[in-house]
Subunit: 365 residues, 2 copies
């Protein structure tokens, strides 16, 4: 065993940190945590393997969920469907998958790989494919390197399983989304089959440990009466973009996504200012008094202003007092190939990406 | 070789007969015929095996298309996707499929099995699963006997392939329909994997030969200046329900189906009467002057009044002069289990099934 063992007691911190890096999306972290805790209690702790130690001949796939977080909090997963999806992919490949991978750090999608890893006794790679969460399947760093999302397996609680092989990642997204909607707007997913060499080239190293560290940081800072929100921003090399009160939330579940926006009235030094955050499962763009202060692929993180607990899009409530942080994304997202997948124009915005440190650097640190 | 060899020259008759038994649906027969003719020219004739001679240890699946015929006539299939779907199912099973089967006699779905059989050099069973065509996947005689539609494979021309394993046949229909819509409203399909014993128990014997015979009958009757429509009705033990002129056609492509109705004004002995035929890909119900004269699962067949050429729902035109025939379905459809799958109430009608010979017997022979 080359990795460290992660038990159920670590998952609360992982979940908290995952929801921070999830930038509002990735599914509800509490539900994923409860499923992972149960799986580890029943099957034992999970071996978390550093990305650099994954052997070349490893064969891995991610395990997680697809769909609208707004539905995920009402139609609870059982965890079995995630095991079914992973196994269906193995059946299709005709080969054993040696490692479980996290597709995106973010909400439940950081915890569900623990469920599958515990159930099947497979090591989990300490990494993810985004360094954050994104709403669509083709939005992953491996895709920048030409890795296909398919073969891909989807499974639901009714006992339905689908294995998809698609012409390209955009077709994968279209067809898998349609299946997910039919399965009831959420589905268990396994995809992006890679060997060890591909994993090491394309994944973001250490992000599951980073989730745990961020979770611990929030708790420790609160205990020491420190400004936990600022500590999170600092740890991520990010910028405090806004403190404010939620005065409007528009949220709808359409085409299988939670889409909408939140409007915030400023507090303290932002008094008199207004910030608007748009989201499609994840936060996409933050506009302060008419000016873009952060945009995809950079991370836009909303925390409870007092507790620094991360707030996902489906939990945003009128009246909440929040802190908004902008943090730089993995540098590979800032390449031409990365911005083609996840830049602002991909989400329908008519402006080019500018790094958050250039936008917010002068004003907010 | 136990079966007879079917060459390209036979396909015109098969297509004509298939469109008769297809009761308006099953996809456009001309397109299926052109694909089958090309496949046989390139790969040689198809061995058509009598149902009774299929060995117990055979392993077979159907090959055909799913979707809206209204789209199928515009977005032409290439035939390759049908081979891909069949092979994807083999890959999933990890076993060679020994025989190709026809899922439904009706339009292109009677011809597409010839495409796959010719391409792959596999024998085709002279039978189908309905003795007609029906619009949804769970509507098959094997399903009455508890045979599952899944594992099922769908493929499209873009290179996308899906293998589905579903909890039951209704879930199969829901999920496969959603995938088909996303693939562009038509897809190639392979499903209903069965061994030889299951095939012999559940399939309708000889229906591909019957298609060919009906096609020949129409041509021969015309050549002899006989009433070809009446000859078709007689061969099927059916009833001439109406002669009339199409005065209204409502047709829309929705939820992946061609849905609508046609209204006919009577000619000759039906002068002053009106007949309405409703369809969902296939003709569902015929109502003459307010009285049901034929309903699913019995066959409602619309032929050109002069030539006896079958008219599919997407070809119905204002002004066409047609003959409407009602013919009895396979007796297994009339069982409680059969009517649960395809009786009038399944399609939203508020009346029970009455056999066409009881409804029409006194009036029209």
């Amino acid at each position: 065993m080359t990795g460290r063992r992660v038990g159920a007691d670590a998952l609360r911190d992982v979940a908290r940190g995952a929801a921070i890096l999830g930038t509002g999306g990735g599914g509800n972290p509490t539900i994923g945590r409860l499923l992972a805790e149960r799986a580890i209690r029943e099957h034992g702790p999970v071996e978390l393997v550093p990305l650099g130690e994954v052997p070349d001949d490893a064969l891995a796939a991610d395990a997680g969920g697809m769909g609208a977080p707004t539905v995920g909090v009402e139609k609870l997963a059982s965890g079995d469907e995630h095991v079914h999806a992973f196994r269906a992919l193995e059946g299709h490949l005709g080969r054993r998958l040696t490692h479980v991978v996290c597709g995106e750090v973010g909400g439940s999608n950081s915890l569900l790989p623990f469920v599958v890893a515990a159930h099947l006794g497979r090591p989990l790679v300490d990494a993810d494919a985004m360094g954050r969460a994104f709403p669509e399947l083709q939005m992953s760093i491996p895709a920048i390197y030409g890795v296909r999302a398919t073969p891909l397996a989807l499974a639901d609680q009714q006992g339905n399983t689908v294995v998809l092989t698609a012409a390209d990642n955009r077709w994968t997204e279209r067809i898998a989304r349609a299946i997910t909607i039919e399965m009831g707007c959420t589905a268990a997913l396994s995809s992006y089959v890679m060997d060890g060499r591909q994993l090491r080239q394309t994944m973001v190293a250490g992000t599951l440990s980073l989730c745990q560290e961020l979770g611990q940081l929030v708790v420790a800072s609160r205990a020491r009466h420190q400004d936990a929100c600022q500590r999170v921003a600092d740890r991520l090399g990010g910028h405090r973009l806004f403190d404010g009160r939620v005065v409007d939330v528009g949220r709808r579940t359409e085409t299988g996504f939670a889409r909408g926006h939140a409007a915030l009235d400023g507090l303290d030094r932002w008094s008199g200012s207004r910030l608007r955050v748009d989201f499609q499962n994840e936060h996409l763009v933050a506009v302060r008094d008419g000016e873009v202060v952060a945009a995809v692929p950079d991370l836009i993180i909303i925390l409870d202003r007092e507790t620094a607990e991360p707030i996902t899009t489906e939990e945003l409530r009128y009246g909440s007092r929040v802190t908004v942080i902008g943090a730089p994304c993995d540098p590979r997202w800032r390449s031409a190939g990365g911005l083609e997948l996840v830049g602002p124009r991909v989400f329908g915005y008519d402006f080019d990406y500018v790094p958050v440190e250039a936008l917010a650097g002068g004003t907010a640190r």
